[in-house]
Amino acid sequence: MDKLGIDGQVILAQLVNFGILLLILFKLIYKPVQKVLREGKEKIAESIKLSEKLVKDGENIEKRKKKVLAEADNQGRKMIVAAEKEADGIVAEAKEKTKEEAIKVKKDAEEKIEAQVKEVEKVLETKSIEMAVSLASRILKEAIGKNEEIDRKIVNQSINKLKNIKAD
């Protein structure tokens, strides 16, 4: 070894130095680096977990959104159907009411016409009676005026009627 110019003690000392250096490096650099790496890994894992959770939440929100939209759509359809049904009911009711009103108006008009016809008939009847009685009066007046015998007979009948009246 000496012939090669290698000093055993120097090598040993260098080995010791190197060992010490390794120990120092291990203590001062490797551990913190490891720690940083572990923490980074944990953070990444947390981030991945969080992003997965967010994705899942997003999916849930999307599902809920679809569900809400479907419910709203369903509700809307139901409301439209109900509104259409109600509108149909209102139209039918209005039609029925109009029909009833028309029937009532027609009936009233018929009754009015009938009453007017009766009134006219009554007036005509009264006029006819008045004319007939007036005519009969004239004929009687003429006939009796020309016949003294009938004249006396009627006067006597009147006197007999008077006699039959009881005194109060």
Binding site: E125, T126, I129, E130, V133, A136, S137, L140, K141, I144, G145, E148, I150, D151, R152, I154, V155, N156, Q157, S158, I159, K161, L162, K163, I165, A167, D168
Partner: protein
């Protein structure tokens, strides 16, 4: 001196001139009805057609043909 009793006047309308006999019959009957003596005030009214109409103490007693026809007319209108 006897005081003259004032007689009641009964107005009689007749379709034709009455005979004295007819007048007496009417007078007797009305006196019987009223229970007192009366005087008749006779008037000829051809509008009565036939028969008599008496006005006794504001009461009209119509037994004329005109009245009978009027009654027939009212009955016909009412029926």
């Amino acid at each position: 001196m006897e005081e003259e009793v004032k007689k009641e006047i009964v107005k009689v309308e007749a379709a034709t001139k009455l005979t004295s006999e007819e007048e007496k019959e009417i007078k007797d009957k009305v006196e019987e009805m009223l229970g007192c003596e009366i005087d008749l005030e006779i008037e000829v009214n051809p509008d009565l057609i036939g028969g008599l109409k008496l006005n006794i103490r504001s009461t009209i007693l119509d037994i004329s043909l005109k009245s009978a026809l009027e009654k027939v007319k009212q009955d016909l209108i009412a029926s």
